[in-house]
Subunit: 227 residues, 2 copies
């Protein structure tokens, strides 16, 4: 079997498992989002600020992926919500099997929101469906404005782009308008938010996006047709 | 054939080609360095500043890799040295075959330094030998200090770590000492330089590192034994 054939087989198997996960999320009324970015774009800090702002009654859980270390799970555990680290041991992305395995003893029917923080990598995670409702790509103001053009797959597949570290805009040559224009060249319908996890700017809009997206998910087809 | 077997086969084939490239570099007296980092850590800007500072008589050439776009080659071409873009079309790393193909019509015997800028990715490029003399990993001050622990393979395999964007240190929570300590936990002998391509700080030391590394390479075993 050639390399391409093996890759196809692996991706097909992943797709089947992801479909099963998606169905389980649907049955339990869970919104699952998959956060993807380059290493160091601020996924974990955004998650810390997100969990900090959530009402303690929110039924949210987090799976966080890294090649090595439990650092992120430790950072995220202090907010009292269920958090689990997926250590890939060298693999450059999360796949549906890793997610399924780490969900094993969680009662999905008790959750409403599952946030998956992927391995820091703008390339490989875009090929692996995790059964999520939405991929979310983060781009930080310390990277180049042309990243959406250089890494089009993940920007094309993401429902939302979060431009992070906007507090650093005065100190970097980054032009937010150019980055957004590049993102929309790859994916015209993509939603875009701007946040600074350090100053808190834009976090309200992000929390509102999550709530609205959850509302859109639990809205039944029947409810929709009544409009 | 299982996925692991196919991966082994691909890596073995790559290793053979990389060995051939290494031998060609040796015969031509070329130092080849392979620059690896997350997307947006400043590889291309560092290369712009590097080429800008080089004497026009320097026999340097650059291969620059990206999934899409010729942006980086365009940025680097203005210094008058041979530059060629490798568009991987989605592949998350450069491999020895891509390098060999793009070197095809360059006269290696006319070069003394070949700089390869890998695809922006801290994971996959670490597995693919390109026949280089040294891997160089860039880490920027806007990423986390724990990146060497989370992505140990590339820090372990790199001869040099360049801490980039040190001009931003006053505006970010990054502690350089912690990052360097983490890097040395993974790779005690790794050399470390700190640079800002924006202010120029540290660029002299980097140029000196390149010159010294080149000197070390062309020094023949006979010359060494005469000491």
């Amino acid at each position: 079997m050639s390399r391409v054939e093996v890759e196809k087989k692996v991706l097909n198997e992943n797709q089947i498992l992801a479909g099963q996960l998606r169905e389980r999320y649907r049955q339990s009324g869970i919104l699952c989002v998959n956060l993807i970015s380059a290493p160091g774009s601020g996924k974990t800090l955004l998650l810390e600020k997100t969990l900090e702002r959530m009402d303690k009654s929110t039924r949210v859980a987090v799976l966080t992926g890294d090649l090595q270390t439990e650092n992120d799970a430790q950072r995220l555990a202090k907010f009292g919500f269920p958090v689990r680290q997926i250590v890939t041991g060298g693999t450059c992305h999360l796949d549906a099997r890793m997610v399924e395995k780490h969900l094993a003893d969680w009662k999905l029917e008790e959750l409403e929101l599952l946030i998956v923080e992927n391995v820091g990598n703008l390339v490989c995670p875009s090929s692996y469906d995790l059964g999520e409702d939405a991929k979310i790509v983060l781009l930080s103001t310390t990277e180049g404005e042309d990243k959406p053009l250089k890494y089009p797959s993940i920007f094309f597949k993401s429902e939302l782009m979060i431009l992070t570290k906007i507090d650093l805009l005065p100190y970097v040559p980054f032009k937010a308008e150019v980055a957004k224009e590049n993102a929309r060249r790859v994916h015209p319908q993509m939603e875009i938010l701007e946040v600074s996890s350090t100053t808190g700017e834009g976090l309200d809009a992000w929390m509102e996006w999550l709530r609205a997206r959850q509302g859109k998910k639990v809205e039944t087809p029947a409810a929709r047709s009544e409009r």
